[in-house]
Structures are given as structure tokens and as C-alpha cells.
Amino acid sequence: MPQINLMVNKKPVTADVEARTLLTELLREQLDLTGTHIGCDTSQCGACVVTVDGKSVKSCTMLAVQADGMEVTTIEGLASPDGSLHPMQAMFREHHALQCGFCTSGMVMSAIDLVERHPEGLSEDQIRAGLEGNICRCTGYHNIVKAVAAAWPLMHGKPALEAAE
């Protein structure tokens, strides 16, 4: 059984996995990081998005052995040790960017990657297109888009947007 070494949420992890173990299974079943969800399990819905070496990926479509030697960040790794939320999490709360909450962790992970890669700014259209790999079955997209737009200035050290209505 392959043994892999990786960093998960800034902590070193050594794990014995089957070659066929998916990254999402390693996270949820061996490391108890159940904030990463399995929605469709067919790489469509994005509930399982985590960051691997700085890129957002669908962890249901990556083998755990492929992450050997890499740095993985999950939703559990976003808040500071003192409990203060990542700006994206804070804005999701502020703008009530969730209904049932199932898609939320994947949405937040994708949204952070999207905002980080667009220091020049993000239009509403770009946010909507950029989140195409994440599906919200409650169709709660409007507030998600608002939250991402509100998180952009906070993540790039710019003045916050005017408070929403």
C-alpha cells in the first residue's frame, strides 16, 4: 500500500492509502476533514473543491497518491487559529451566501482561488463564469456572487464595498 507525505492545512500528514483512494476520501475518511463534501462524485458539482499547490481542484477527481509531496488546503484550513474567519467566509456569512450549505465549502474554496488570481478586479460576469464549476442546487447564486464581490477588496487590501442594502 503506497505511503504518501503531504501538508494538509499547514500540518504534515503521512498516510497509507490504496492507489485508488481519492483525495476526497483521504481527507474525509482518514483525516476526518468532512468539511470537503462529495456531491455528484463525477467532477461536475464542485462541492469537493480544495486547493492543491495553490490551484483549486476537484478532490473527487484526483488520486490521493497524486497529491504526494503537495500542499493541500481545505475549508478547515481557512480560519485563523484564533477563530477569525477568512474574508471570503466572513463575506459568505455577511451576505447570507448559502441556503442548505451543502455546496458552500466548495464555493468558498473556488471563490478564494478566483479572487486571488484576479488582482486587477473581477466583474459580476467574471465571478459568475469563474464559478461555473460549482453548482448550488438551491440556486442561491445571487448572494454567492455578492459575497465574492465583497470579498475581493478585503483580499486585495482595498477599501470595502459599500454595505449592501
Binding site: 503506497p2 490504496e18 492507489a19 485508488r20 481519492l22 462524485d41 463525477t42 467532477s43 461536475q44 464542485g46 473543491v49 490551484k55 483549486s56 481542484v57 476537484k58 477527481t61 484526483m62 488520486l63 497518491v65 497524486q66 504526494d68 473556488s110 482561488d113 478566483l114 469563474g130 461555473e132 464549476g133
Partner: protein, 265 residues
């Protein structure tokens, strides 16, 4: 998933040998198609040979060519200024495959080796006559694509890079399936030194094909209007739950005009 052994070789020779020696060994590039196939138990490999450690990613200029490594991701191609300048249409094509997460993992070489009849890259490669370099030889696209999911690759033969010639005007237009983002019909149109080239993906019964009638019309007059009365033979078209052969034939004409218009920019 059935269980399998996993190897991540450090050299192309080792990877090639593993795949040549064992008929049930399979290569893993980005895994965006292969891992879903494994999950559905549609394939039972003895060993999965991960190509990620071979140094096959990267984009470089070589004279009048942009050379893209087989393990370069769609996202890297979409973001490349060099690709955008020298091979118009290709970066946009790559930037509209799947979604952002798929584009971070999926690779040019993996897509070409799989030769999905609805994949986007085959249209660009065939239209631009981009040579496909493997660890054994250089293959022209006309010889490489052999119908749905079939290529000229032999056991142990791996794509290393693809050589795209610089092109003056080119663009890709896709009518995407809204769920998968695969091409229902995708047309890559180019005005090359050798004349107009039009390659169609997603629509053909045997995968990607060149549209000879459209190329002749565009050779005379490279405008969308030149395609007004050009027919697409129905018997070449694929029909499935997403669209009939007639619908696809119509879409070929519409997408080709959009591609030509975009190429003229």
C-alpha cells in the same frame, strides 16, 4: 474503482517501457477523463503510470512554432501570452474547456491521446496541421486521429509535445453542451500559409474532420458570407440524445461562420 498499482516514473524511457511491457497498464496525464472512467469501472488497469514526473509541461517558442509540452494544462495554455499572440484561437479554446478546476488539471497531451470525438483540441491541431511529437516519431494530425477514441499511438508511445505553427488569422467557435461543456459542435477556422483550413469536432461520426467544401469556399473569399451556401453532408454527422444529425449539420455552418468572423476580428 478496481484497485491497481501506481507508478510515477522519473524518465520517459521508464514510463514507455512500463506501458509497452504490460498491455493492461494505462497512462495517467491530468486524469480529468481517466479518473471518472476508473470510478465507473469502465477500465481495469493493472498499473497506472503517472506522467506528472517526466517534465513534459511547458510552452516555448521555436522559430515559427509554439511548442507546447504534452502535460501542459488547459489553464496554462489559456493564460499564455505567447500562445495568444502566435496561435490566435488556441488560448480561447483552452480557456473554455470544462471549468476552472478541470483546466487546472487537464492536459493537452491527455486530451489528444484520448481523442474524444467531442474534445476541442483535435479541431485546432487538425486545422493548423500541428505536428504531434512522441517519444518515437513525429505524427501529422491527418495520420494521428483515427476515429472515435482511436489514435495512431502504439503501445508505449507517449506524446511529448505538439508543435503549433504561427498563424496569421484563426479562431475557434464552440456550441457547448451546457452540462459537460464538451463541444456539441466546435469549428476551428484558420487562414494559413497553405490556404484556408476548417476542422470540425463534436459533430462527426468518426471524430474530428476537415471540411473540404468550406475550405474551398474560404480559399476564394475568407469571409463568413462565403459559407452561406456550403453544405455539410448529413451522412457524416453524429446524432445522439443531445442533437440529431440534421441539427449538428446546421450548427457546423453556424459555428464555422462565427469562427471565420472571429478570425477576421
Amino acid at each position: 474503482m478496481y484497485d491497481f498499482n501506481y507508478v510515477k516514473p522519473r524518465t520517459l524511457t521508464e514510463a514507455s517501457q512500463l506501458l509497452a511491457d504490460d498491455f493492461e497498464a494505462k497512462a495517467l496525464a491530468g486524469g480529468m477523463t481517466f479518473i471518472p472512467v476508473l470510478k465507473q469501472r469502465l477500465n481495469k488497469p493493472s498499473v497506472v503510470v503517472d506522467l506528472a514526473g517526466l517534465g513534459l509541461a511547458g510552452i516555448r517558442q521555436d522559430g515559427e512554432h509554439v511548442v507546447i509540452g504534452a502535460m501542459t494544462t488547459h489553464g496554462e495554455i489559456a493564460a499564455s501570452e505567447m500562445v495568444r499572440r502566435a496561435v490566435p484561437g488556441l488560448a480561447e479554446l483552452a480557456g473554455n474547456i470544462g471549468d476552472r478546476q478541470v483546466r487546472f488539471r487537464g492536459t493537452l497531451g491527455g486530451s489528444l491521446a484520448n481523442n474524444d470525438p467531442s474534445a476541442c483540441y483535435p479541431a485546432a491541431v487538425l486545422a493548423l496541421d500541428a505536428m504531434i511529437q512522441t517519444n518515437h516519431r513525429s505524427i501529422s494530425p491527418a495520420e494521428f486521429f483515427l476515429g472515435m477514441f482511436a489514435t495512431a499511438l502504439e503501445p508505449g508511445e507517449l506524446i511529448t509535445e505538439v508543435r503549433f505553427p504561427r498563424v496569421e488569422r484563426a479562431a475557434y467557435a464552440k456550441f457547448a453542451n451546457p452540462a459537460s461543456h464538451y463541444a456539441m459542435v466546435g469549428v476551428f477556422a484558420a487562414k494559413t500559409a497553405a490556404g484556408a483550413r476548417v476542422a470540425v469536432t463534436g459533430a462527426g461520426q468518426s471524430g474530428v474532420f476537415r471540411h473540404a467544401a468550406m475550405e474551398q469556399a474560404l480559399d476564394k473569399n475568407f469571409t463568413p458570407e462565403a459559407l452561406d451556401h456550403v453544405e455539410t453532408p448529413l451522412d457524416l454527422m453524429n446524432g445522439d440524445i443531445h442533437g440529431s444529425a440534421g441539427y449538428r449539420a446546421h450548427l457546423v455552418g453556424v459555428m464555422a461562420k462565427r469562427a471565420v468572423a472571429a478570425a477576421l476580428g
